[in-house]
Symmetry: C2
Subunit: 199 residues, 2 copies
Amino acid sequence: MSLPLLEQLIEAFRVLPGVGQKTAQRMAYHVLEREREGGQKLAEVLAKAIERIGHCEQCRDFSETEICAVCANGSRERQQLCAVESPADRLAIETATGFRGVYFVLQGRLSPLDGIGPRELGLDQLEARLKQGEVNELIIATSATVEGEATAHYLAQMARSYKVRPSRLAQGLPLGGELEYVDRGTLSHAFGTRTEVQE
Amino acid sequence: MSLPLLEQLIEAFRVLPGVGQKTAQRMAYHVLEREREGGQKLAEVLAKAIERIGHCEQCRDFSETEICAVCANGSRERQQLCAVESPADRLAIETATGFRGVYFVLQGRLSPLDGIGPRELGLDQLEARLKQGEVNELIIATSATVEGEATAHYLAQMARSYKVRPSRLAQGLPLGGELEYVDRGTLSHAFGTRTEVQE
């Protein structure tokens, strides 16, 4: 009743995040009906990307080359090192802020129950870098979740042991956020850490 | 600052329906971080599907073979022919109903402004089939939009000219639908075409 290859294609689309049976089916039909050329291109680029994209030796971000473009850029300030959980976080910071330092991509966060310890996050590599003495500030941009906080705590201790100043992104109300819709934890934290209004 | 290949991959994902910049980015990162094997498989199957999946000569549905499995199935009743707009619609009917007839997939609906006329929908092929005299009911399952209705009207006239009985899916309130949330057009139509309650 059904096409094996079409079914295989629908199944294959389900590896994508947030794609269930229904969406996968829509994708398969859409590509076959209207986007054969684009689909062909996607298949090629995807295979090539998986084959060629590895990790930067210095910052562990995705890179086609041994050293990524940011790390290879001589004009970035090596004294400021920003630790992020994922390449997407790195990109978000790079796009939103004017940060001119360099990054270290953990590719995860400490989660002993899932078997993710310091080794998995490349913290030995990070430690070696802090030891060199080039870095003077470690900006810890892990997420504000329990595991992210635990990771931040670990990193901050490591930084201090090498006389590197650790810092953490400010927490509080999001800009443009309505008080009414902010979650209780954030509101309580923002209330407790209120800052004096300057004249 | 950015990886050409990674950017290409993000761009390539955007051919998928409902996928914008942000989702494409999430897909690319997800595949590279956690689903390299699944991504590889997707690339292969996608390329193969685009290369091999064509249309069934009889019903115009997607098929790897000249005649699709439904059309080739000798136990389906050829007197009932169900015209649908797309392969997804065919699949929906096949899954939800116990229909044992055969299909004809229009791959679109009449839309003269977009250059989609009877030829593009393969109506000459459908006409030849009605002419043969094997079909006695044409179930018109086009969507309830303006273009779908126009297509249905056209098909019904064609069917009548070959003494084939045209039928159309019933319209009214969806099962389990709350009256309050049904759109005005549907409610008005359902009210006007109310049926007598049988004892």
